[in-house]
């Protein structure tokens, strides 16, 4: 995983109550045509050096939010502050922000060199300085040999690098990336993920990336925000969002989740017992916050945290029985879709340890599935 390397002992800036945010988004709203809320009252604090991702399905408002940060869309309401300076009303060409466009938007009539130099030419820099900086940038993205080429003589991956070099050339305080890897094929995308994170570490610029690919957001970001219908549903580190999704949408959007609807039957300290029609016995889960008895809740379980059992557990908790309906063989793991007696379909992921062409289970096998009290989360229904 191309996770940014960090000192595990130090406090992260977003955990430090005294840290001043680098970028602050305060109640930003964008209304199109007087009625469509593309971005709805979003507030965010992003800290220096972060690689922050805005994650969501298409049409969730993430790109509009990014474009407002770049100044390409006006905010209907709210304020955007960089280092306590209000930039809400600044036109894009006066903002200390650069953007890498999804289509790359390279100038087709200019060479690679001229493209990278474009931003620098807008500043009062000497020719020599511009040439040096362009050289550095092309070296950073390993495109030095292509300086004299035109964009249409480059491959998709090479164009992506040039676009990155161009947007970094002005040494912006904040770099916005709109689906930076969207146009690349899978293999290239994976290697570019690593490279982008490496470059971010080297230049130290704060990155904000928009993506619909949850895997991309998980592997690259320090923190991410999950968006839906113009609102931010959850902000956190990739592992926080994955392990402790705040609601049903996030649980289902990030990774796969098996959801059991039920009601709180009893609580005992940080353990909560839930009765669900989907499971024959009780469901007992860890949940630190107190819940009133009778509260409707949803238990979310990740497929890789569910085990195959030989027989029902003796305590008669945290288990279901069902029939194998579908088998998905992915090489390293297999995914089983199990139709339970309660009428649900539960996804189970099993690591393929031994080398065999057929797994331990086959279609129509009856299996028992079990899980631990701390391998899932209890969400408000």
């Amino acid at each position: 995983m191309p996770q940014p390397r960090r000192d595990p002992a130090s406090l992260e800036s977003w955990q430090d109550p005294d840290a001043r945010p680098f970028l602050e988004i305060r109640g930003v709203t964008k209304v199109f045509d007087g009625a469509t809320y593309a971005v709805d009252d979003v507030s965010l604090k992003i800290f220096r050096g972060e690689f922050f991702s805005l994650l969501g399905a298409s049409g969730c408002g993430k790109s509009t939010l990014l474009r407002m940060l770049a100044g390409l869309e006006r905010c209907t309401q709210g304020h955007i502050l960089i280092e306590d300076e209000d930039i809400t009303e600044l036109p894009p060409f006066e903002r200390p922000v650069n953007m890498m466009f999804q289509s790359y938007a390279l100038f087709p009539h200019m060479t690679v060199e001229q493209n990278v130099a474009f931003g620098l030419r807008q500043e009062k820099l000497s020719r020599q300085e511009i040439r040096t900086r362009v050289g550095e940038m092309l070296e950073l993205v390993r495109m030095t040999g292509f300086a004299r080429r035109k964009p249409d003589q480059l491959s998709g991956g090479q164009r992506q690098r040039v676009a990155l070099a161009r947007s970094l050339a002005k040494q912006p305080k904040l770099l916005l990336l709109d689906e930076p890897l969207g146009a690349l094929d899978r293999k290239l995308r994976e290697s570019t993920q690593f490279e982008l994170v490496n470059i971010q570490e080297r230049v130290g610029t704060t990155f904000i990336m928009v993506t619909h690919d949850q895997e991309e957001a998980m592997t690259m970001s320090t923190r991410l925000a999950v968006m839906d219908a113009g609102r931010i549903l959850q902000v956190g580190t990739p592992s926080e969002v994955y392990e402790y999704p705040g609601n049903r949408f996030v649980a289902e959007f990030i990774g796969a989740a098996n959801l059991f609807d039920g009601r709180v039957a009893s609580t005992d300290g940080d353990r909560v017992t839930i009765q669900s029609e989907g499971a024959p016995g009780d469901i007992v889960m860890h949940h630190p916050q107190p819940l009133a008895i009778g509260t409707p809740v949803t238990v979310a379980l990740r497929p890789e945290k569910i085990r195959l059992l030989e027989e029902p557990p003796r305590e008669d908790v945290n288990w279901v029985r069902g029939t194998v309906r579908e088998i998905g063989y992915l090489g390293d793991v297999s995914i089983y879709h199990v139709g339970t007696e309660g009428g649900l379909t539960v996804q189970v992921q099993v690591t393929n340890r031994g080398r065999r062409t057929s797994g331990p289970l086959t279609w129509d096998d009856v299996v028992c599935l079990g899980w631990d009290a701390d391998s899932g989360v209890v969400l408000p229904a």
Partner: protein, 324 residues
């Protein structure tokens, strides 16, 4: 053909079938088919462009004669079965020696060049405005540009006479407003010629410009703004260079016909607005000097063609510029 069916056929039939398939394929995609498709437009060009030009060229090398057709033949059977070929270069020498023709050529080029620049200056903002208008409006605005074509060109030029003449609409309006107390001389002047040419050829400038501007990727302008370029600078560094093909196409579409323009200087121009199209007409119809008229036409063709070919050469070289 599908591999699954092949084994069913006897080997001999299969090979025959393959050969027929191959023949049909080569007819459809191969050299023969391609040649047929290409031959048609070429035949058209040969018949209606190259052949007339060659005829004109031939006449330009002959002498005027009181005959029908009114020029001497180029090839003639002389005595004893010898074919005599007579090339008469006197017409071209005449064009060069008589200052009238040189002046007319130079004036035509000047009028065409100035009109082209004027069309560009007026047409570019119009094309830009149409290309950036909301998409529902674009078609309406384009229609307005094309609408004058629905009336005959000749009638529209005549209409300008009604507007410009001494007791015409414009003078009438200015007089009744008290802005002038003598009617202005608008008609039969160089001004009227420029006005007529710019008015008539403006759509030919706007349409190609519009076509390039409307195709432009607007995220390029966003990228330019994002990189710190204010709008006016983005126009000069991004929009204008990218619309250059449209500028060139529009300019050629205006310049070339404007050089040979006859109707507009004839109807709107005065005695001093001497243009080569008018000279050509006079030579052909008034003087009935076909050879000189043909020489005038050939010289005009060369004057336009040579810079055009040079330009194309440069364009091609730029396109195939070797890159490291």
């Amino acid at each position: 053909m599908s591999a699954a069916r092949e084994p069913v056929l006897a080997p001999g039939r299969a090979s025959l079938r393959r050969r027929i398939d191959h023949g049909v394929k080569s007819l459809a995609q191969g050299r023969l088919g391609r040649a047929l498709v290409i031959a048609l437009p070429y035949a058209w060009l040969l018949l209606f462009l190259l052949l007339p030009i060659l005829i004109v060229l031939k006449i330009s090398f002959s002498e005027m004669a009181l005959a029908s057709p009114p020029y001497t033949p180029m090839l003639q059977w002389a005595e004893q079965r010898t074919l005599s070929l007579s090339l008469h270069l006197g017409n071209y020498a005449f064009l060069w020696e008589d200052p009238l023709y040189v002046a007319a050529y130079l004036n035509s080029l000047k009028v065409a060049a100035v009109s082209t620049v004027l069309c560009l200056l007026i047409g570019y903002p119009m094309a830009y405005a149409i290309a950036r208008a909301p998409s529902g409006w674009r078609i309406v605005l384009l229609m307005l540009v094309i609408l004058p074509f629905w009336t005959s060109f000749l009638i529209r030029v005549y209409a300008w006479i009604g507007l410009l003449q001494g007791n015409g609409l414009i003078n009438h309006l200015l007089l009744s407003l008290g802005l002038i107390d003598q009617p202005l001389v608008l008609l039969h002047s160089n001004f009227a010629v420029y006005l007529g040419i710019v008015y008539s050829y403006l759509p030919f400038m706007i349409l190609p410009l519009y076509a390039t501007l409307v195709r432009m990727d607007l995220t390029l302008l966003e990228a330019a703004a994002d990189l710190g370029s204010p709008p006016w600078k983005s126009f000069l560094t991004v929009t204008l260079p990218l619309s250059l093909p449209g500028v060139v196409a529009g300019s050629l579409l205006v310049f070339i016909p404007a050089v040979g323009e006859f109707v507009i200087p004839d109807l709107l121009g005065g005695p001093d607005s001497l243009m080569i199209g008018k000279v050509l007409w006079t030579e052909f119809f008034s003087n009935r000097d076909w050879p000189v008229a043909s020489a005038v036409a050939v010289a005009m063709l060369l004057i336009i063609l040579v810079p055009l070919l040079l330009f194309q050469r440069v364009e091609e070289r730029e396109a195939t510029e070797p890159t490291r």
